[in-house]
Symmetry: C2
DNA sequence: CAAAAGAAAGTAATTAATTACTTTATTCTG
DNA sequence: CAGAATAAAGTAATTAATTACTTTCTTTTG
């Protein structure tokens, strides 16, 4: 059924516009639904368009997933990495990055589901490759920040940086899983600082260590 | 595979036998395939039975998932918790539990996929409830071990035990995700001790000097 | 104890729904 | 008007579940 468009509003959108609307819809839907059970019909409904129309803007579903993965990767890079670059002190940068990441997830609760869902898929599909690549980049960023922290003498030089990177990502994962279990995704922003504090205790330089 | 006590060949298996065979098949299949894409036909094929025969032993698919979740919960409890109970010293118990958990995952690579897959499902389906409950029990176990460690003066009393429990589970998650990215699940057993060492550095009591 | 009777486990084929994707016709916009 | 965007109505494939029927195991009973 067609409704007459309101005056001043475009009834028909450009392909680019529809593409980003669709990506946004997928990200939103993932907040309340398992990505693997997302149907093109449900996505189209969210966009406010017929199911078939989706294929005017994406050649197929897996291509849509690829676009979504690309969007996530881009957002993570710009929103999280850029925060880290604002700090001279490496340990402060790590903390800010951690909190920015948690904030990003809190604003987009579907993201963890999305990324985990992609990683669970077998094979080397494009979307999985993008997520994989982004995670590798992330790990690299953390390791280099840790090294800078050692140079700045804010991080103990005896630290196992590779292990710390895994634990850093794990800390985020732990928060997310905890939130999934509790069903309360907003709560992670509250507990995030406590988790990071504990995490950083494992490598904080203890040259001055006043007992309280 | 269980052998019948008598050497006579048995063409038809008992429902109980088929049920556990089916659960085993699902766990194995999850090691190489996204759980949400597992079809009853594929499962039946693995068991070596017709697709329809599955429904002689399970009323429906979701009931099968419930059984699988129950199996996982049981195995985690018996295999991981029992290890912890063998140690008097709480921090040693935590480490043994951590390594036992990683070993369990290495032996059953489908388990993380299974659990994460269940948690991603919306609503309060039985299988999800079981996983959720198991995780809660797990968290509780860690917290109580931490408290015992404080009493034994092996763990610093200033520790945020709730945060530590999240970080502990996160450390396992981080290892698993890292393995998923790398595609090499066997590697986690190798890196596990390093991760735990770093994790425990965040709360190890340094003033105390235990004899070993 | 053996044969009949029934219960349980199995198969192959089918069904109703659902899915990603396609085709056709219609409507909007520059 | 021409081309792009859309809706509506398809299609073929896949899926969980059911069905009608057969085979095997267990129990009852004369």
């Amino acid at each position: 059924m067609r409704t007459t468009p309101e005056p001043g509003k475009r009834a028909y959108q450009s392909t680019e516009q529809r593409q980003s609307e669709t990506i946004e819809a997928v990200v939103h839907l993932c907040a309340e639904q398992d990505p693997s059970s997302l149907t093109t019909a449900r996505i189209a409904q969210k966009v406010g368009v017929s199911q078939g129309a989706l294929f005017k803007h994406f050649p197929n579903k897996s291509s849509l997933w690829e676009s979504v993965a690309g969007w996530v990767a881009g957002q993570l890079t710009t929103q999280v990495f850029s925060v880290a670059d604002q700090y001279e002190q490496a340990d402060k940068a790590l903390e800010a990055m951690f909190l920015a990441h948690i904030g990003f997830i809190a604003r987009h609760p579907g993201i963890p589901r999305l990324m985990l869902g992609e990683l669970q898929k077998p094979g080397n599909q494009p979307a999985k490759r993008i997520i994989r690549q982004t995670l590798a980049l992330y790990r690299q960023k953390i390791v280099s920040l840790l090294h800078r922290g050692i140079e700045q003498q804010h991080i103990t030089p005896s630290i196992d940086t590779e292990a710390a990177a895994v634990l850093y990502i794990g800390a985020i994962q732990g928060l997310v899983v905890q939130a999934m279990v509790g069903g309360d995704i907003a709560s992670i922003e509250q507990s995030a600082p406590r988790i990071f504090k504990l995490f950083s205790a494992s490598f904080r330089e203890t040259s001055h260590d006043p007992k309280e």
